[in-house]
Protein backbone atom coordinates (compact mmCIF):
# COMPACT_ATOMS: atom_id res chain seq x y z
CA UNK A 1 0.00 0.00 0.00
CA UNK A 2 1.36 3.44 -0.88
CA UNK A 3 2.08 6.15 1.67
CA UNK A 4 -0.83 8.15 0.33
CA UNK A 5 -3.41 5.40 0.72
CA UNK A 6 -1.87 4.53 4.10
CA UNK A 7 -2.63 8.06 5.26
CA UNK A 8 -6.12 7.83 3.83
CA UNK A 9 -7.14 4.78 5.81
CA UNK A 10 -5.07 5.64 8.85
CA UNK A 11 -7.97 5.97 11.25
CA UNK A 12 -10.37 3.78 9.27
CA UNK A 13 -13.06 6.44 9.19
CA UNK A 14 -11.82 8.20 6.10
CA UNK A 15 -10.68 11.32 7.89
CA UNK A 16 -7.13 12.54 8.21
CA UNK A 17 -5.51 13.24 11.58
CA UNK A 18 -6.08 16.95 11.00
CA UNK A 19 -9.82 16.30 11.09
CA UNK A 20 -10.20 17.51 7.52
CA UNK A 21 -11.94 15.52 4.84
CA UNK A 22 -9.68 13.28 2.83
CA UNK A 23 -11.87 13.10 -0.25
CA UNK A 24 -11.06 14.75 -3.55
CA UNK A 25 -13.74 16.27 -5.75
CA UNK A 26 -13.56 13.05 -7.78
CA UNK A 27 -14.34 10.94 -4.68
CA UNK A 28 -17.46 13.00 -3.98
CA UNK A 29 -18.47 12.74 -7.63
CA UNK A 30 -18.06 8.95 -7.43
CA UNK A 31 -20.61 8.96 -4.57
CA UNK A 32 -23.22 10.08 -7.12
CA UNK A 33 -22.90 6.83 -9.15
CA UNK A 34 -22.18 8.66 -12.43
CA UNK A 35 -23.06 5.70 -14.65
CA UNK A 36 -26.51 5.35 -13.09
CA UNK A 37 -26.88 9.12 -13.31
CA UNK A 38 -26.18 9.08 -17.06
CA UNK A 39 -28.85 6.41 -17.57
CA UNK A 40 -31.32 8.50 -15.56
CA UNK A 41 -30.58 11.59 -17.67
CA UNK A 42 -31.06 9.57 -20.83
CA UNK A 43 -34.41 8.03 -19.83
CA UNK A 44 -35.66 11.32 -18.37
CA UNK A 45 -34.80 13.02 -21.66
CA UNK A 46 -36.90 10.46 -23.54
CA UNK A 47 -39.85 11.18 -21.24
CA UNK A 48 -39.30 14.89 -21.74
CA UNK A 49 -39.23 14.65 -25.52
CA UNK A 50 -42.52 12.79 -25.42
CA UNK A 51 -44.10 16.04 -24.27
CA UNK A 52 -44.99 18.75 -26.77
CA UNK A 53 -43.05 22.05 -26.85
CA UNK A 54 -40.01 21.63 -24.64
CA UNK A 55 -38.18 24.85 -23.84
CA UNK A 56 -34.54 23.77 -24.33
CA UNK A 57 -33.17 25.96 -21.52
CA UNK A 58 -35.79 24.88 -18.98
CA UNK A 59 -35.48 21.30 -20.23
CA UNK A 60 -31.71 21.31 -19.76
CA UNK A 61 -31.99 22.79 -16.25
CA UNK A 62 -34.68 20.24 -15.34
CA UNK A 63 -32.50 17.37 -16.59
CA UNK A 64 -29.64 18.69 -14.50
CA UNK A 65 -31.85 18.77 -11.39
CA UNK A 66 -33.13 15.25 -12.10
CA UNK A 67 -29.54 14.02 -12.58
CA UNK A 68 -28.42 15.59 -9.30
CA UNK A 69 -31.45 14.10 -7.52
CA UNK A 70 -30.56 10.66 -8.88
CA UNK A 71 -26.95 11.19 -7.81
CA UNK A 72 -28.09 12.24 -4.35
CA UNK A 73 -30.07 9.04 -3.93
CA UNK A 74 -27.00 7.05 -5.02
CA UNK A 75 -24.94 8.93 -2.46
CA UNK A 76 -27.44 8.21 0.34
CA UNK A 77 -27.52 4.57 -0.76
CA UNK A 78 -23.72 4.41 -0.36
CA UNK A 79 -24.02 6.10 3.04
CA UNK A 80 -26.47 3.49 4.28
CA UNK A 81 -24.85 0.47 2.63
CA UNK A 82 -21.23 1.28 3.54
CA UNK A 83 -21.05 -1.77 5.85
CA UNK A 84 -22.10 -4.27 3.17
CA UNK A 85 -20.23 -2.47 0.40
CA UNK A 86 -17.04 -3.18 2.34
CA UNK A 87 -17.80 -6.92 2.16
CA UNK A 88 -18.40 -7.20 -1.57
CA UNK A 89 -15.68 -7.29 -4.23
CA UNK A 90 -17.89 -5.32 -6.62
CA UNK A 91 -18.34 -2.41 -4.21
CA UNK A 92 -15.30 -2.46 -1.92
CA UNK A 93 -13.58 0.30 -3.91
CA UNK A 94 -16.44 2.76 -3.43
CA UNK A 95 -15.35 5.98 -1.68
CA UNK A 96 -16.65 5.11 1.82
CA UNK A 97 -15.34 1.54 2.19
CA UNK A 98 -12.10 2.68 0.52
CA UNK A 99 -11.71 5.21 3.34
CA UNK A 100 -11.72 8.27 1.10
CA UNK A 101 -14.97 9.83 2.34
CA UNK A 102 -16.60 9.42 5.75
CA UNK A 103 -20.19 8.21 6.17
CA UNK A 104 -21.15 11.53 7.77
CA UNK A 105 -19.78 13.44 4.81
CA UNK A 106 -21.74 11.24 2.42
CA UNK A 107 -24.92 11.75 4.46
CA UNK A 108 -24.52 15.53 4.48
CA UNK A 109 -23.62 15.61 0.81
CA UNK A 110 -26.55 13.37 -0.16
CA UNK A 111 -29.13 15.26 1.89
CA UNK A 112 -27.94 18.64 0.62
CA UNK A 113 -28.12 17.54 -2.99
CA UNK A 114 -31.50 15.85 -2.45
CA UNK A 115 -33.12 18.96 -1.04
CA UNK A 116 -31.31 21.23 -3.51
CA UNK A 117 -32.33 19.21 -6.57
CA UNK A 118 -35.99 18.88 -5.54
CA UNK A 119 -36.37 22.58 -4.68
CA UNK A 120 -34.56 23.62 -7.87
CA UNK A 121 -36.73 21.37 -10.04
CA UNK A 122 -39.87 22.68 -8.31
CA UNK A 123 -38.90 26.32 -8.81
CA UNK A 124 -37.72 25.88 -12.39
CA UNK A 125 -40.54 23.65 -13.62
CA UNK A 126 -43.42 22.60 -11.35
CA UNK A 127 -44.11 20.83 -8.04
CA UNK A 128 -45.56 17.68 -9.61
CA UNK A 129 -42.18 16.92 -11.15
CA UNK A 130 -40.40 17.96 -7.95
CA UNK A 131 -42.74 15.75 -5.89
CA UNK A 132 -42.04 12.79 -8.17
CA UNK A 133 -38.28 13.39 -7.85
CA UNK A 134 -38.58 13.60 -4.05
CA UNK A 135 -40.63 10.40 -4.00
CA UNK A 136 -38.06 8.64 -6.21
CA UNK A 137 -35.23 9.61 -3.85
CA UNK A 138 -37.32 8.50 -0.85
CA UNK A 139 -38.23 5.24 -2.57
CA UNK A 140 -34.63 4.39 -3.49
CA UNK A 141 -33.11 5.33 -0.15
CA UNK A 142 -35.78 4.38 2.40
CA UNK A 143 -37.96 1.75 0.72
CA UNK A 144 -35.21 -0.01 -1.27
CA UNK A 145 -31.89 0.60 0.51
CA UNK A 146 -33.03 0.73 4.13
CA UNK A 147 -35.88 -1.74 4.03
CA UNK A 148 -36.23 -4.11 1.07
CA UNK A 149 -32.61 -4.73 0.12
CA UNK A 150 -31.77 -6.59 3.32
CA UNK A 151 -35.24 -8.01 3.96
CA UNK A 152 -36.56 -9.80 0.89
CA UNK A 153 -35.52 -11.55 -2.30
CA UNK A 154 -38.04 -9.31 -4.09
CA UNK A 155 -35.82 -6.31 -3.24
CA UNK A 156 -34.86 -5.37 -6.78
CA UNK A 157 -38.33 -6.14 -8.18
CA UNK A 158 -40.01 -3.48 -6.04
CA UNK A 159 -36.90 -1.33 -5.79
CA UNK A 160 -36.74 -1.26 -9.58
CA UNK A 161 -39.52 1.32 -9.48
CA UNK A 162 -36.99 3.93 -8.38
CA UNK A 163 -35.04 3.47 -11.60
CA UNK A 164 -38.23 3.52 -13.66
CA UNK A 165 -39.53 6.92 -12.56
CA UNK A 166 -37.16 9.26 -14.50
CA UNK A 167 -39.11 9.26 -17.83
CA UNK A 168 -42.21 10.15 -15.85
CA UNK A 169 -40.36 12.96 -14.05
CA UNK A 170 -39.01 14.26 -17.37
CA UNK A 171 -42.50 14.37 -18.87
CA UNK A 172 -43.97 15.94 -15.73
CA UNK A 173 -41.26 18.61 -15.77
CA UNK A 174 -42.62 19.84 -19.09
CA UNK A 175 -46.35 19.21 -18.75
CA UNK A 176 -47.00 19.28 -14.99
CA UNK A 177 -48.74 15.90 -15.19
CA UNK A 178 -48.17 12.24 -16.06
CA UNK A 179 -49.69 10.33 -18.96
CA UNK A 180 -50.45 6.73 -19.86
CA UNK A 181 -47.48 6.81 -22.25
CA UNK A 182 -45.12 7.58 -19.37
CA UNK A 183 -46.66 4.71 -17.41
CA UNK A 184 -45.66 2.42 -20.30
CA UNK A 185 -42.10 3.84 -20.26
CA UNK A 186 -42.09 3.23 -16.50
CA UNK A 187 -43.31 -0.36 -16.98
CA UNK A 188 -40.58 -1.18 -19.50
CA UNK A 189 -37.77 -0.22 -17.09
CA UNK A 190 -39.59 -1.71 -14.10
CA UNK A 191 -39.99 -5.12 -15.78
CA UNK A 192 -36.52 -5.00 -17.32
CA UNK A 193 -34.82 -4.55 -13.94
CA UNK A 194 -35.30 -8.06 -12.44
CA UNK A 195 -33.84 -10.11 -15.32
CA UNK A 196 -31.02 -7.57 -15.67
CA UNK A 197 -29.98 -7.67 -12.00
CA UNK A 198 -30.65 -11.35 -11.43
CA UNK A 199 -28.34 -12.20 -14.34
CA UNK A 200 -25.62 -10.29 -12.49
CA UNK A 201 -26.64 -11.83 -9.15
CA UNK A 202 -26.22 -15.33 -10.60
CA UNK A 203 -22.55 -14.59 -11.21
CA UNK A 204 -21.97 -12.52 -8.07
CA UNK A 205 -24.04 -14.59 -5.64
CA UNK A 206 -20.96 -15.32 -3.47
CA UNK A 207 -20.53 -11.59 -2.95
CA UNK A 208 -24.17 -11.16 -1.92
CA UNK A 209 -24.04 -14.25 0.32
CA UNK A 210 -20.96 -12.91 2.13
CA UNK A 211 -22.73 -9.58 2.71
CA UNK A 212 -25.93 -11.31 3.86
CA UNK A 213 -28.11 -9.74 1.16
CA UNK A 214 -31.05 -11.99 0.33
CA UNK A 215 -30.76 -11.79 -3.45
CA UNK A 216 -32.86 -14.37 -5.26
CA UNK A 217 -30.01 -16.80 -6.10
CA UNK A 218 -28.91 -16.74 -2.43
CA UNK A 219 -32.41 -17.36 -1.06
CA UNK A 220 -34.17 -19.45 -3.70
CA UNK A 221 -31.22 -20.94 -5.57
CA UNK A 222 -29.78 -20.48 -9.05
CA UNK A 223 -32.34 -22.61 -10.88
CA UNK A 224 -35.32 -20.74 -9.51
CA UNK A 225 -33.58 -17.46 -10.44
CA UNK A 226 -33.14 -18.75 -13.99
CA UNK A 227 -36.87 -19.48 -14.18
CA UNK A 228 -37.73 -16.01 -12.86
CA UNK A 229 -35.39 -14.39 -15.41
CA UNK A 230 -37.18 -16.28 -18.18
CA UNK A 231 -40.64 -15.31 -16.87
CA UNK A 232 -39.80 -11.61 -16.53
CA UNK A 233 -38.20 -11.60 -20.00
CA UNK A 234 -41.36 -13.17 -21.41
CA UNK A 235 -43.30 -10.28 -19.87
CA UNK A 236 -40.99 -7.36 -20.67
CA UNK A 237 -40.57 -8.18 -24.37
CA UNK A 238 -44.28 -7.79 -25.26
CA UNK A 239 -44.63 -4.80 -22.91
CA UNK A 240 -41.77 -3.16 -24.82
CA UNK A 241 -43.98 -3.38 -27.94
CA UNK A 242 -46.69 -1.25 -26.32
CA UNK A 243 -45.29 2.13 -27.46
CA UNK A 244 -45.83 0.98 -31.06
CA UNK A 245 -49.20 -0.63 -30.32
CA UNK A 246 -50.41 2.54 -28.61
CA UNK A 247 -49.23 4.69 -31.48
CA UNK A 248 -46.62 6.87 -29.82
CA UNK A 249 -43.72 5.03 -31.45
CA UNK A 250 -43.21 4.23 -35.10
CA UNK A 251 -42.04 1.37 -37.27
CA UNK A 252 -38.30 1.82 -36.50
CA UNK A 253 -39.10 1.33 -32.82
CA UNK A 254 -41.26 -1.72 -33.57
CA UNK A 255 -38.47 -3.33 -35.61
CA UNK A 256 -35.85 -2.54 -32.94
CA UNK A 257 -38.03 -3.82 -30.10
CA UNK A 258 -38.87 -7.00 -32.04
CA UNK A 259 -35.30 -7.89 -33.03
CA UNK A 260 -33.73 -7.07 -29.67
CA UNK A 261 -36.70 -8.66 -27.87
CA UNK A 262 -36.11 -11.95 -29.68
CA UNK A 263 -32.44 -11.77 -28.70
CA UNK A 264 -33.43 -11.16 -25.07
CA UNK A 265 -35.64 -14.26 -25.19
CA UNK A 266 -32.84 -16.33 -26.72
CA UNK A 267 -30.44 -15.19 -23.98
CA UNK A 268 -33.00 -15.84 -21.24
CA UNK A 269 -33.58 -19.33 -22.65
CA UNK A 270 -29.81 -19.87 -22.71
CA UNK A 271 -29.59 -18.92 -19.01
CA UNK A 272 -32.49 -21.25 -18.27
CA UNK A 273 -30.94 -24.24 -20.04
CA UNK A 274 -27.20 -23.80 -19.38
CA UNK A 275 -26.87 -24.44 -15.68
CA UNK A 276 -23.35 -25.73 -15.12
CA UNK A 277 -19.81 -24.37 -15.24
CA UNK A 278 -18.39 -21.84 -17.65
CA UNK A 279 -21.36 -22.09 -20.05
CA UNK A 280 -23.75 -20.99 -17.28
CA UNK A 281 -21.46 -18.12 -16.33
CA UNK A 282 -21.15 -16.97 -19.93
CA UNK A 283 -24.93 -17.16 -20.39
CA UNK A 284 -25.49 -14.97 -17.31
CA UNK A 285 -22.89 -12.41 -18.37
CA UNK A 286 -24.31 -12.43 -21.90
CA UNK A 287 -27.79 -11.65 -20.59
CA UNK A 288 -26.50 -8.96 -18.23
CA UNK A 289 -24.51 -7.20 -20.96
CA UNK A 290 -27.17 -7.45 -23.64
CA UNK A 291 -29.96 -6.30 -21.35
CA UNK A 292 -28.14 -2.95 -20.99
CA UNK A 293 -27.91 -2.65 -24.76
CA UNK A 294 -31.57 -3.68 -25.08
CA UNK A 295 -32.88 -0.91 -22.86
CA UNK A 296 -30.49 1.61 -24.38
CA UNK A 297 -31.60 0.78 -27.94
CA UNK A 298 -35.31 0.93 -27.08
CA UNK A 299 -34.96 4.35 -25.52
CA UNK A 300 -32.47 5.62 -28.13
CA UNK A 301 -34.85 4.80 -31.00
CA UNK A 302 -37.74 6.36 -29.09
CA UNK A 303 -35.64 9.48 -28.53
CA UNK A 304 -34.68 9.66 -32.21
CA UNK A 305 -38.32 9.26 -33.23
CA UNK A 306 -39.52 11.95 -30.84
CA UNK A 307 -36.79 14.34 -31.96
CA UNK A 308 -36.78 13.95 -35.73
CA UNK A 309 -40.08 12.15 -36.39
CA UNK A 310 -41.01 8.54 -37.16
CA UNK A 311 -40.81 8.98 -40.93
CA UNK A 312 -37.31 10.37 -41.00
CA UNK A 313 -35.99 7.65 -38.67
CA UNK A 314 -37.68 5.02 -40.86
CA UNK A 315 -36.13 6.55 -44.00
CA UNK A 316 -32.73 6.61 -42.33
CA UNK A 317 -33.19 2.97 -41.27
CA UNK A 318 -34.15 1.95 -44.82
CA UNK A 319 -31.10 3.80 -46.19
CA UNK A 320 -28.82 2.09 -43.64
CA UNK A 321 -30.33 -1.32 -44.49
CA UNK A 322 -29.80 -0.70 -48.24
CA UNK A 323 -26.25 0.45 -47.56
CA UNK A 324 -25.47 -2.60 -45.44
CA UNK A 325 -27.02 -5.10 -47.87
CA UNK A 326 -25.27 -3.32 -50.75
CA UNK A 327 -21.98 -3.55 -48.91
CA UNK A 328 -22.61 -7.22 -48.14
CA UNK A 329 -23.41 -8.18 -51.75
Amino acid sequence: MSAVSDSIVQDSIGQSQSGLSNGTAGDFFALLKPRVMSLVVFTALVGMMLAPHVNPVIGFAALLAIAVGAGASGCLNMWYDADIDALMRRTVKRPIPAGKVTRDEALGFGLTLSIGSVVTLGLITNWVAAGLLAFTIFFYVVIYSMWLKRATAQNIVIGGAAGAFPPMIGYAAVTGTVSIETVVLFAIIFLWTPPHFWALALVKSDDYRRAGIPMLPVVAGDDHTRLQILIYTLIVVPVAMLPYAMGFAGLPYAVTASVTGVMMLVLAWRIFTRREGEAARKAAFGMFGFSILYLFLLYAVLLAEFMVGHDRVAALGAFAARFLTGAAS
Partner: protein, 52 residues
Protein backbone atom coordinates in the same frame (compact mmCIF):
# COMPACT_ATOMS: atom_id res chain seq x y z
CA UNK B 1 4.61 32.19 25.49
CA UNK B 2 5.36 30.28 22.32
CA UNK B 3 2.29 29.60 20.17
CA UNK B 4 1.66 26.13 18.76
CA UNK B 5 1.57 25.94 14.96
CA UNK B 6 -2.01 24.50 14.92
CA UNK B 7 -3.08 22.14 12.18
CA UNK B 8 -0.42 21.68 9.57
CA UNK B 9 -1.67 20.00 6.42
CA UNK B 10 0.45 17.50 4.62
CA UNK B 11 1.09 18.16 0.95
CA UNK B 12 -1.46 15.50 0.01
CA UNK B 13 -4.15 16.93 2.31
CA UNK B 14 -3.60 20.43 0.91
CA UNK B 15 -3.90 19.05 -2.63
CA UNK B 16 -7.15 17.29 -1.80
CA UNK B 17 -8.60 20.36 -0.11
CA UNK B 18 -7.68 22.45 -3.13
CA UNK B 19 -9.45 19.95 -5.40
CA UNK B 20 -12.61 20.23 -3.28
CA UNK B 21 -12.43 24.02 -3.15
CA UNK B 22 -12.00 24.38 -6.91
CA UNK B 23 -14.90 22.00 -7.57
CA UNK B 24 -17.16 23.80 -5.10
CA UNK B 25 -16.29 27.16 -6.67
CA UNK B 26 -17.07 25.86 -10.14
CA UNK B 27 -20.38 24.36 -9.00
CA UNK B 28 -21.48 27.57 -7.28
CA UNK B 29 -20.47 29.66 -10.30
CA UNK B 30 -22.35 27.24 -12.55
CA UNK B 31 -25.45 27.52 -10.37
CA UNK B 32 -25.38 31.33 -10.54
CA UNK B 33 -25.11 31.16 -14.32
CA UNK B 34 -27.84 28.50 -14.55
CA UNK B 35 -30.31 30.46 -12.39
CA UNK B 36 -29.62 33.62 -14.40
CA UNK B 37 -30.19 31.90 -17.76
CA UNK B 38 -33.29 30.08 -16.50
CA UNK B 39 -34.72 33.34 -15.15
CA UNK B 40 -34.22 35.04 -18.51
CA UNK B 41 -35.72 32.02 -20.31
CA UNK B 42 -38.77 31.97 -18.01
CA UNK B 43 -39.38 35.70 -18.33
CA UNK B 44 -38.91 35.59 -22.10
CA UNK B 45 -40.22 38.67 -23.88
CA UNK B 46 -42.01 39.79 -20.71
CA UNK B 47 -38.73 41.17 -19.40
CA UNK B 48 -39.38 44.28 -21.53
CA UNK B 49 -43.13 44.40 -20.87
CA UNK B 50 -43.48 46.85 -17.99
CA UNK B 51 -45.24 50.17 -17.47
CA UNK B 52 -43.06 53.16 -18.27
Amino acid sequence: MEQKPGIVLTEEEAKRRRSRSVALGLVLGGLVLLFFIVTVAKLGGNVLNRPM
